[in-house]
Amino acid sequence: MWKSFVDHLTVDWLGLTGRVNETVNFFIYDTVKILFLLVVIIFVVSYLRTHFNTEYVRAHLQGKSELYGNVLAALFGIITPFCSCSAIPLFLGFLQARIPLGVTFSYLISAPMNNEIAIAMLFTLFGWKVTAIYIGFGLFVAIVGGFVIGRFNLEKYVLIPVKPIDEKLEAGEVKMSAKARAKEAWEYTADIVKKIWLYVLVGVGVGAFIHGYVPEDFIVKYAGGDNWYGVPLAVILGIPMYSNAAGVMPLVEVLTDKGMLMGTALSFMMAITALSLPEAMILKKILHTKLIAIFFGIVGVGIICIGYLFNYILK
């Protein structure tokens, strides 16, 4: 319905034809669709999340065995909000509750990867199947990655001495009326949209241009859909892009249309969210560079494997 309205608008009212029409049409259609769905999805996700907070997660992870803890931590990563600015108190707070380092990392990989913006963008642009694959394999990387990190006995690389607390932490429910939750979720949504709308516009704008003007086989020919280095390159490019996830994802949609393989696209998006340079800089205050490098290395390798796997399966 929305598609036919936009067609009507650009062709009949604005009298556009050919490539110009295709570009403008794509831009209007995508921008409005993305912004609308972003608002709806982020609102729903933030509403559900008002039931949980990091303190709740910590109390629940306390005293859990390692592998079970990894799985639980990765799952909690989906339902709790995460801001890289509170990565330090989170990290130390978890260790303080004697939660193993590997379990803490499972959470630290999963939480930013399954952030509301990424989920909303994926769902809007690629549909529920790709979103489910992304979340599923994201959890897998978080669980296995955290577990492997746990095997290395890297506690000595935590630079700040943490005094453990032994008493059982209370998992206090977050008490709020439905109205208060809706209000908080709405404020949160507005806050996020204010932050990312420009990135979305620029991303869709560049995407629309590619959609209209770059020939179909361009990506396949030059960026090499099938090259062996496509996946690792995508992961490396994804690392510095965290804050721009909202702008990059519309681009990825167009690139997959133009022949970029889905596995490569998936790795790229996972690298954007899971491996963030600003987060690494923040963690450097409390963790030895070596530990951060191992963390990036393991997650990076995991994401690359997923990319290859998908390119292979979908071929």
């Binding site: 907070n53 990091t54 303190e55 909000p81 600015c85 509170s86 108190p89 932490l169 908080e184």
Partner: protein, 82 residues
Amino acid sequence: MKIEILGTGCAKCVALEKVVEQAVAKVGGFHEVVKVDDIMEIMKYNVVSTPGLVIDGKVVSIGKVLSIDEVVKLIEEAKHNA
């Protein structure tokens, strides 16, 4: 009354600090406002998501930038309970 803002210097923590200052001005009276940015001090309050707000040693809010009116309400509630 002693009001502490727990935060390691993130944008949200700075925002909450400003809100608290305005709220205190609105409530009136003498209140001590302290910004706690030492991570070890923050850990003592069992707060994992910053910013946290502490009134007279009691954690009243975590991980949120409150509005001025919300902080005013919290201060008045704490006064009432004291």
